[in-house]
Every structure is written in C-alpha cells, then in structure tokens.
C-alpha cells in the first residue's frame, strides 16, 4: 500500500506547495496576536513563505535536471520544466503583489492577516493547477485558487463596488466551474480514468475514428470553463466589474496570476488529452482569440476608469496568447515557436501589468481612489519618475519596441507567419493600433494634462522595489531578450514523453 500510493520521495515533489500552506496557516494563527500597527509582519511572513517555496522549487529544478521529470502520488502530480517555469512565475507575481499591498491595505484600513493567507492559498492552488495531471487534483486546485480570489475580490467590505464585483465573480465563477466539472466528468466517462496520461491514451485511440462527439463535447465544456477563468470572449463579462471593484492590488493579482495559472492548465489539457483532436478545436480557439482581441480593444477605447480600461485590455492580451496556441496546434508537429511565444508573453505580461497597476496603486490615498483617468492628470509634474515608469509599462503593454511586450507579441506573430496563418497575423498586428490609442489616452492624462491636485504621490520602499523589478524586466526582456527567450524555451514540455509509462 505504502509503496503504491505514497512513495517516500513524493512528499518532496509537493514541498513548494506545502510550505506556503504552512505559512498561510501560521499567518492565520499569529494574526490574532498582532496589534494593528504590526500587521505588516503578516506580509513579512507571507514573503518568507514565498521565499521558502522558491528555494524548494529551485531544488526541484536541479532534481529534474539530474533525474528527468518526476511523477508522484500515484501519477497525479508531475514535476517538469513546465511546472517549474510557471511555479516561479506565480511566486514572483505573489511576491510583487504582497509588496504592493502593505501600504495599500493600510490606506484602505482593511489590513488583516487573512488577506496574505488567502494569497498564499491561491498560490498553492495555482501551483497544483500546473503540476496536477489528474482531473481531481486539477479541479480542486482550480477551486482553491478561485475561492481564494472570490474572497479577496470582496475584501473591501465597506465598498459597494467591491461587494458587487465579488458576488458577480462568485456566481459566474461557480457556474463556469460547474461547466468545467461537467467536461471533466465526460473525460472520465470516456476514458474510465481521471489520470491525464490514461485519458490522453484513450483520446488518441479515439481520434483515429473521425469526429467523436463525446470528445468534442468535453473539449467545448472544458474550454468554456477555462475561457471564463482567463476572461476570454464570450466569457469575459465578469472581468471589468471585478477588476474595478476589487482592491487594486488584487486586481493586479487576478489579472496576472489567475490568468497565467488558468493558461497553464489550459495548455496542460490541450497539449495532452485534447491534442489528438486538435483539428477540431483550432478554429474554435482562433475564433475566441479574434473575438477577445476585438471586444477587448474596442471596449477599452471608451473607458474612463483605468482599472476597467486595463481589464478590457487584458481581455485583448488573452486573445494574443490564444493565438500562440492556434499556431502551436497547426500542422503535423507541434509548433514550438507558438508555445514559447505564449510562455514569453505570459512572463512579460505578468511584470508589465503588475507594474502598470503599481502606478495606479501609488495614486491611492485617503480620500482619493485614484482609478479614474482624471486622477492621472499631471502625474508628470507631481511625480516624474512614476510618469516615466507608467509610460514604459504602457508601451510594453501596447507592444512597442524595445520592450518585453513587443517581444511577446513578436513571438506570436512569428509563430502565426511560420504556420501560414496570414490573416490571423494581419488581424493581430492591426489590433495594436487601437491598443496604442487607448494606452496613450492614459499617457496623455499623465503627461500632458495639468492637474488641479497638488499632492505628490510617493512610493513606499516596498512599492519602489516592485516598480524597479517590473520596469527592469519590461525593458531588459525587450533590449536583451536572449536569457528570457531561453527561459520560455525551457518551459516547453513534451506531453509525457519522458515518463515512459
């Protein structure tokens, strides 16, 4: 029994998730003992959890570099470069958001330990979403992440927008999870197993016999559930309201970490179980991608609230990332440029988007929410450094060289041209133009409008650190992208090729 279900080495494989869980529980316990003015210690504990997790993740990287990919818990958890890459990305996003949160929560007067604990729990969920290769593990991981986010989105209890956003998020999220679970159940029904390796084998066998409606139904339902999580059109309606209502730090977190984790899960499923049927879903993905870019870009043009604007723009970014999957799934063999492009894009997006939200967070102070375009007015005169950083983040989001965002888009275009999707490529590049337009609306307010507001927003040391890191990545990954390109290349995984099962 012991040897079959729980090998001695298994525990090591989930140590990066166990550590944040312990620290999260620790925060819940010690929070009672802390006086309000010491609440920032919670953030310190959370950072320690992230740090420990990062350290063990690094050890795992060394382990699989020596011994190859590792499977544990009777084939339900997989440690491979894909997991290592995304694991580090989640930890980085979590760390950045924790650093952004301290000052922000003090201003909001909602500085509670639960906030940090929930962030750690969400991180655990995201990491299991990436490492799980069993439908049950994946589903529970997804729910762990989602439920943490439902609470975090409504964390400003006294704010009506926050409550509204959280409720909307919960209801629609539960609905989409139901659809996803339905899809998972069909997969289980078809394959007779919840293990992704077995399912892949069964789906490959069935792919030989033409279009299989059951398989197709599972693809569509699972796809719908995941499209909701990444906020792709037509499952995007929750995003603007949640982004606007949630605490800004959580908006940043949802927009990068939750999205990246859901993309990781999506990639894991579509590259394994659904891969044999790719001819059936490529056009579906392409349609969703084009719709996301269209709706996201055009809806963003008219927004007057920065958080809503960034919400719509993030929908358009989803479209670009999905195009990478379209390119990857075209042709006989997997197009690695497309997958590498997705990984690079998500990596760049994480940093540039957190950076942009960090500038919005700077504007928050007692009596000013700071998320309206008008609140940006004259930022250049009030804090030139922040205005320059904002410009760099927005240029990167828009995809203007030499920034990380450009390289990300570049990789997507590269893969589309390589696989002959010329029309999609033309669509994708032309949508840069509305994107530049609405991002530059923010720039105009920050750089060229005079402000009636004399207060100079300043950054706390933690916020300065976040801004430094994000701007460094946004620029360096554009000017000298080679190491980051290699990193993205590292994340590519062969669907269970090295497991030999």
């Amino acid at each position: 029994m012991w040897s079959e279900f729980l090998k001695p080495g298994d525990f090591q494989l989930i140590l990066p998730m166990v550590q944040p869980a312990l620290f999260g529980l620790g925060i819940l316990l010690t929070d009672f003992l802390l006086e309000p003015r010491y609440k920032h210690w919670n953030a310190g504990l959370a950072m320690a959890g992230v740090g420990f997790s990062g350290y063990t993740l690094w050890q795992l990287r060394n382990l699989i570099a020596r011994n190859g990919d590792q499977v544990g818990f009777n084939g339900s958890v997989l440690v491979d470069p894909f997991f290592i890459f995304f694991g580090f990305l989640f930890l980085a996003a979590t760390a950045l958001v924790i650093l952004l949160s301290v000052r922000y929560l003090e201003i909001e007067a909602e500085h509670h330990g639960e906030y940090y604990a929930l962030m750690l729990f969400a991180t655990i969920g995201m990491m299991f979403m990436t490492s799980g290769i069993d439908l049950i593990v994946q589903f529970i991981a997804l729910e762990t992440m989602a439920i943490s986010f439902y609470i975090l989105a409504g964390f400003l209890r006294r704010d009506r927008r926050s409550n509204e956003g959280a409720l909307k998020y919960l209801l629609l999220g539960a609905f989409s999870s139901g659809i996803l679970a339905y899809g998972f159940s069909i997969m289980y029904g078809v394959a007779g197993s919840t293990n992704l390796i077995d399912i892949t084998r069964e789906f490959s066998r069935r792919a030989g016999g033409g279009v299989d409606l059951l398989v197709l139904l599972s693809i569509v339902t699972v796809g719908a559930g995941l499209f909701f999580k990444v906020a792709a059109v037509p499952f995007h309606q929750w995003a603007p309201d949640v982004y606007e209502g949630a605490p800004t730090s959580i908006t940043a977190y949802v927009s990068v970490a939750s999205k990246t984790a859901s993309f990781a899960l999506l990639l894991r499923l579509f590259q394994t179980a659904f891969w044999p049927a790719r001819e059936n879903w490529v056009m579906l993905i392409a349609g969703v991608a084009v719709a996301s870019m269209t709706v996201g870009n055009f809806a963003a043009i008219t927004q007057t609230n920065i958080k809503r604007l960034l919400a719509y723009s993030s929908i358009s970014h989803v479209g670009y990332v999905l195009l990478g999957l379209v390119a990857a799934a075209t042709g006989e063999n997997v197009n690695e440029t497309g997958l590498q492009g997705m990984a690079f894009y998500l990596f760049a997006y994480t940093f540039m988007n957190v950076g942009a939200f960090a500038v919005v967070i700077l504007l928050r102070r007692k009596g000013l929410i700071g998320d309206d375009l008008e609140d940006m007015n004259g930022l250049f005169h009030r804090n030139p450094g922040a205005a320059v950083l904002l410009l760099i983040f927005l240029l990167s989001l828009a995809g203007v060289p030499p920034t990380a965002g450009f390289l990300g888009k570049y990789y997507i275009f590269l893969s589309l041209i390589q696989t002959g999707h010329y029309y999609l490529a033309v669509f994708a590049v032309l949508y840069i133009i509305p994107a530049v337009y609405y991002y530059f609306r923010i720039v105009v307010h920050a750089w060229m409008r005079e402000s009636s507001d004399a207060v100079r927003p300043s950054a706390s040391p933690a916020q300065s650190l976040v801004l430094t890191v994000t701007v460094f990545i946004s620029l360096v990954a554009g000017l000298y992208p080679e190491p980051f390109v290699r990193l993205a290349g590292y994340s590519l995984f062969l669907p269970f090729g090295s497991l030999g099962r």
């Binding site: 030139p384 240029l395 203007v400 060289p401 030499p402 450009f406 570049y410 275009f413 590269l414 041209i417 390589q418 010329y422 490529a425 033309v426 590049v429 032309l430 840069i432 133009i433 530049v436 337009y437 530059f440 105009v444 750089w447 060229m448 000298y480 992208p481 080679e482 390109v485 290699r486 290349g489």
Partner: protein
C-alpha cells in the same frame, strides 16, 4: 583611433543616447544646463559623424564600417550596422539637421526643457539607427522606437491641436509599420525555406529575396509598401502630414520633413526595389501614378493655404512625389536624382521650417495674412529666405534644380508624358513658393507689429547659413554627392532593370567582347561593331 574607426557607426549612433542618459541625472530645475547639454551633444553627434566623409570610400561596392554582434541568437537577430553611399548621405543629413534643429530650439522651447532635449536626442539615435541597421529586426526596432519621442515632441511642445496631430501621426505610422513587421517575418521564413538559415541579415536577404516567386514578391511588396508609403507620405496616405508638421514645434517640423520622410523613400530604395524587383516592376505604374498625383495635388493644395507652415507641409507632399517618381522609373538618373533630391528636400524644407519658426517666435502667428513687407525690417532674413525659396523651387545653381533635373532626365528616358507632368509640378512649385514670398516679404508693412521686427541674430544665422552653403554647394558642384551614389545605384538598377545598361552601352559604344553574338553576325558579312540591335545571347539559343 583604430577602435574609433572600426566602431564609428556605433559611436555616431550612441552619442545622442549618451547625452540623453547623462541629462537624466541632472535635476529638472537646471534649465540652462539642459539646454547647453542638449546642444553640446547635438553638435557632438555631428562632429563624430564628420570623419565618415573622409573615411568612406565611395568607389567600393557593398557596405562599409560594418559591425556585427550577436543580439538575440534564438531568432537570428544581430546587432549589425553598416552604410553604403545612399545611407551615408542620409546619415550625414540626419546629423547636420539634428544639430541645427537642436540649436534652433534654444529660445523656442520654454517649458520642460529637460524632457525636450532628452527626447530629441533619443529621436536622433532612433533615426540614425534606421539608416545604419543591416539587420531587419534591428531596423524595425529603430523604426518604431523613433515614433515615441516624436509623439511627445508634437504632443507636449506643439501648438493648439497638438494632441490630435500627435496621436494621428503615431497611429498612422504604426499602422503601416506593423504590416511591415509581418512582411519582414515572411521574408525571414521564406529565406529559411530556400537557404535553411534563420537570419535577418539585410545583405543576405537582399541577395535571396529577388529569387522568391512572383506571387510571394507581390504580397511582400504590398506588405512593405504601406509602411513606406505612409512614411513618405504618398498621395492617399498623406493626411497625417499637414497636421503633424503644422502642430509640431519648429525643430520637430524640421526633423519630420528633413529626416523622417526620408525613411519611407529610403525603405523603397533599400528594400522594396532591390529585394522585390519583379513585383516592383509590375506595380511601378501605380506608384508612378500616385507620385504624379502627389506632385500636382500637393502643389495645388499649397496654393490655397493661409497658414505658412501648412503650405510648406503640403509642399513636402509634392516634393516627395518627385522622389518616389524617380525611384520607380528604375533608371540610374532617376534613382540618384531621387536620393539627391531627398537630401535637397531635407536642406531646403528644413530651412523653410526654420524660417517659419523664426517668424513665429517673433510674432506668434503663422498666418500669411499677418505678414507683409517684412523685407524692410529684416533684410538679412529676406535674403536667406529668398535663396531657400529658390532652392526649393528648383532654380539653377541651387540644389533643388540639380535634384529635379536629374530625376526628370531619368524619367524622360522612360516616358515623356510622366516627365511632362513633373515639369508642371515644378512650375506650380515656383508659383506657390514665390507667391508666398511675395505676400510675406514684399510690399509695404501692413501690420504695425511687423514694423520693428528684429533681424536674424547670430544663433539664427548659424542655423541657416550652413544650409544655404550646402544648397549652393550641391547646386554648383554636385559631383561629390553623385559619386557616393554611383555604385549603389548601379547595383540597384542592375537588379531591377538588367537590360538598361545593355541598351545604353550598345547605343553609345561598340559592342564589346562579352558578346559572342558578334561572331555569327560577322559571318554574314557585316562588321560586328555596326550591329547595334544584336539580340542577347540567350534569345539566340
């Protein structure tokens, strides 16, 4: 010195950038320091580029001063620089105009000096990079990078409708260039299909691309076309130009007209024509048609302008029509005339914008109706303005004449009708420029405010006199300039119009040794030298 000689392009490229980075560390309150620093680095950029004049060897084919370093090995992008005769002239034009326009901003820019000079220096680096890049990826990066500082120059320091003009400029140019990105990627993959190498190296692609299939060339041609046509701007894509040029601050207009527009024509000369000769020939008539429309339409619109700056802006549409016309007739005269005319346009239109800027600084208006009789209070100004006007309209002994004449000669070889339309454009050009001069400078002083306008001061003279001297130099003795162009232009013409040199040589000199065709004809009893219509050897078999 040796290091400098080997890396002179990098030095020229990054001198302005170094100035911009240095300026970042000087507090914003020190206005004077920023102004001085900007000018120092503006002129330093010119000084370090001067050795090129001596070191560049015009008779050697191919690119010179090449630098080639790894940049992004995973995609085959490299940091590769190099110039030939065409890019040499444009690089020099950029450094000269850059230094002069920074100097011209001395008093014109009163707010936010730190950012102004930083952005201007960044812009300078971006433009130089476009002309120097020998890597398509690097070229694209510079091409786009330069949009951002220009956006701010127009948007922050421009006049009333600056925000509209700035974003219009940005989006318009961006629309063309993103399509170009796709074309670049298509060339990249197509080259890989045939040679098995992933590279953005421009000399390699220049050699490989002409062998692509006709259909492929057609697609690529249109992919590149929009980027360049918008930048030039060619006739239906020109609507951003009057707004951007009019709203930009003086120095911005000088750079826009003087250098930025040349990127479009440079793109045609460097990429479209040599890379895609088959498609270029196929679609040449469209471009020629659009060029002629631009020449005539631009000139007619100029006649109706009330705003001096807008008039000069529209005159660019007309003048650049000559440049594209010269390129797409594929004759050596057309091409070298076109490139020389690009330089000329940079000099004369740049100077015209400086002149409008000088008037604007004094009167804070650009309306023609607000002036009149200025030659009385400002005699030196009147003289220089007259020379520049004559240079722009193509007066012999001045630079514009040489450029337009050479272009028309090249066009004439192909079609007399097109040349005739070009001549009409020159006449109209004379009309609007002289009429403008007459309304502004001659007659009695109609507005009391104009009575005591100060004449040019020393700084303004320094900005204008070099351009006047250049105008005379090119007008009187253009040979050194053409010498830079001979080799690269011949290479382009041979690529796109291979029969041109055959024909012209047969028509003038006796048939030379490489034609074995002489032998059989000789058997028929005719002297070989007397057969000007000897068919090419390939047809014979």
């Amino acid at each position: 010195m040796h290091f400098f000689q080997n890396h002179i392009l990098s030095v020229v490229l990054f001198t302005p950038l170094a100035g911009a980075i240095l300026a970042l560390f000087i507090p914003r309150e020190q206005d004077q320091a920023h102004r001085v620093l900007g000018n120092i680095f503006g002129f330093a950029g010119l000084i370090v580029s001067l050795p090129l004049v001596w070191w560049f060897q015009p008779d050697v084919g191919g690119f010179q001063f090449m630098e080639n370093l790894d940049w992004i090995p995973s995609i085959g992008a490299r940091y590769a620089l190099g110039i030939d005769g065409i890019s040499f002239l444009l690089v020099m034009l950029t450094t000269v105009l850059g230094a002069l326009s920074i100097l011209s901003s001395w008093n014109a820019i009163q707010i936010r000096k730190k950012e102004y000079y930083i952005l201007f220096l960044l812009l300078q680096t971006g433009m130089l990079g476009v002309f120097m890049s020998l890597d398509f990826f690097l070229f694209y990066v510079f091409w786009e990078v330069m949009l951002v500082p220009m956006y701010f120059l127009i948007g922050v320091w421009g006049s009333d409708r600056r925000l509209y003009a700035a974003i219009k400029f940005f989006l318009y140019t961006l629309a063309g260039s993103v399509i170009m990105l796709l074309a670049i990627l298509a060339i990249y993959f197509k080259n890989h299909e045939t040679t098995g190498v992933y590279t953005f190296d421009i000399p390699t692609l220049l050699a490989a691309a002409p062998h692509f299939s006709q259909t492929m060339q057609q697609w690529l041609f249109w992919g590149l076309f929009f980027a360049f046509a918008i930048k030039v701007p060619m006739f239906p894509f020109h609507t951003w130009l009057p707004d951007a040029h009019t709203e930009a601050p003086t120095a911005g207009s000088v750079i826009l007209a003087g250098v930025l527009l040349k990127m479009g024509t440079y793109g045609f000369v460097r990429f479209s024509v040599p890379m895609l000769p088959a498609a270029s020939k196929q679609y040449a008539w469209i471009i020629i048609l659009l060029s002629i429309v631009a020449i005539i339409y631009g000139a007619l619109v100029c006649m109706m302008q009330k705003d001096m700056k807008k008039l000069i802006a529209y005159s660019s549409v007309s003048h650049l029509g000559f440049c594209t016309l010269g390129i797409f007739v594929f004759t050596p005269h057309g091409l070298s005339g076109s490139i020389l005319q690009q330089i000329n346009h940079g000099i004369s239109t740049g100077a015209l914008f400086l002149i409008v800027g000088i008037l604007y600084e004094r009167r804070h208006t650009r309306m023609i109706a607000d002036f009149g009789g200025l030659s009385t209070p400002m005699p030196n100004f009147a003289a220089i303005y007259l020379i520049i006007s004559l240079s722009s309209l193509g007066m012999p002994l001045l630079n514009g004449f040489i450029g337009e004449f050479t272009i028309l000669r090249g066009v004439f070889e192909v079609s007399r009708v097109w040349a005739a339309w070009g001549v009409v454009g020159i006449i109209l050009g004379a009309a609007y420029l002289l009429w403008l001069y007459q309304r502004v400078m001659f007659g009695a002083v109609t507005h009391p405010a104009n009575e005591h306008l100060p004449d040019l001061n020393a700084r303004e003279l320094v900005t204008l006199v070099p351009l006047v001297l250049l105008a005379f130099w090119i007008g009187v003795y253009p040979k050194p300039f053409f010498r830079y162009l001979d080799v690269p232009v011949k290479k382009i013409v041979v690529g796109v119009n291979p029969t041109y040199y055959d024909k012209s040589e047969r028509a003038t000199i006796h048939v030379e040794a490489p034609l074995p065709a002489a032998a059989p004809v000789g058997e028929a009893g005719q002297p070989a030298a007397a057969t000007p219509a000897a068919p090419p050897a390939a047809e014979r078999k």
